[in-house]
Symmetry: C2
DNA sequence: CCAAGATAGGGCAGGTTGCCCAATTATTTA
DNA sequence: TAAATAATTGGGCAACCTGCCCTATCTTGG
């Protein structure tokens, strides 16, 4: 329902287009085409497909929470009564500072990414989470440093490399 | 060194522009301007500033790892000999499947986001992490569901709302 | 061998960008 | 409060780009 099944593997051309766009986000289709030695039509078709197939995440992803006034990032491991998951998620969605959440395996049930403008707000959010019916514990880990900022370039290189050599991936 | 200090708080106009762009990522500056009742010049100036000030993260962020052939996401809590952090991070960066990593407080030292095309690859990556000198343990939590996909819209609403109600916030 | 799909190449009207400038508001600051 | 500074607006212009349409190759798989 979210992402189309049609999300088959991207081929080398798609990857080259994406790579070019990463380097020059504002590049026009024409620019990409000439740079890659493709026709404008091809590039436009590909990009359109990438957007509809779910290969491109929403623009929202590019907005920096820090710039919005939320410089602190923390990860909260939430332990819950699993049978109440549905309702708990519904409540979590209502907390704006929770900008991401995954249902995970392991001792905790949910891993949430929480941003805040300061420690107090973090504390407040923690309180709101604990107040939800079915939540039993919430362990917060504050991010002290973004050692590796979210990237996908490494994945694209991997794919391109794998294609060219056709061998086992290594590094 | 990463993000410019110039990243002062965004004002209501910036937020409105960003909100509009979220709704219509392909909207031209002219379109945004007319929709918000601003001049084209203003919108273009603002957007340019947002891009240079670090309020807009790199395009890379919009690429879906799943589309690249990495449908599995997991979170790995890494315990290390803290004095070896530097070198460990240097090694982690070389592992393409690690698309994000934070230095965190709590029992674990590093929280890494790892993607893979299958369980075996996850296992391989885990091995590579454990092989790094100074790494003592790596606990993997597989993401079974993206309960809340990364979002920032909630933050923008919060900010805009805060502005409208209480007039004190400098945002 | 044919059908389907992808790519190249060309065309055209209309919208858009980049850049520049002057006039008009805010907003600060002295 | 007045002067200085920054933000916004409105307009103009050439170059460029997009969206859409059509056709001719060229692969690829059945």
């Amino acid at each position: 329902m979210l992402i189309l099944r049609i999300m088959q593997q991207l081929d080398a051309t798609d990857l080259r287009i994406l790579t070019t766009l990463c380097a020059q986000p504002k590049a026009s289709a024409v620019a990409v085409a000439t740079e890659l030695g493709l026709s404008r039509n091809t590039v436009q078709t590909r990009i359109a497909r990438l957007e509809t197939s779910g290969a491109l995440l929403p623009f929202e992803q590019r907005i920096n929470p820090a710039a919005l006034g939320f410089p602190l990032t923390s990860f909260v491991h939430i332990h819950i009564q699993q049978r109440l998951l549905q309702g708990i998620v519904a409540q979590l969605v209502k907390i704006p500072e929770i900008i991401e959440a995954h249902g995970i395996t392991g001792s905790a049930d949910i891993l949430a990414r929480v941003v805040a403008n300061g420690a107090e707000e973090l504390f407040r959010v923690n309180g709101r989470i604990l107040a939800i019916d079915g939540v039993e514990r919430a362990d917060t880990s504050l991010s002290m440093a973004a050692l590796i900022p979210l990237r996908t370039g490494s994945l694209m290189n991997q794919r391109l490399f794998a294609r060219e050599t056709s061998g086992t991936q290594t590094l």
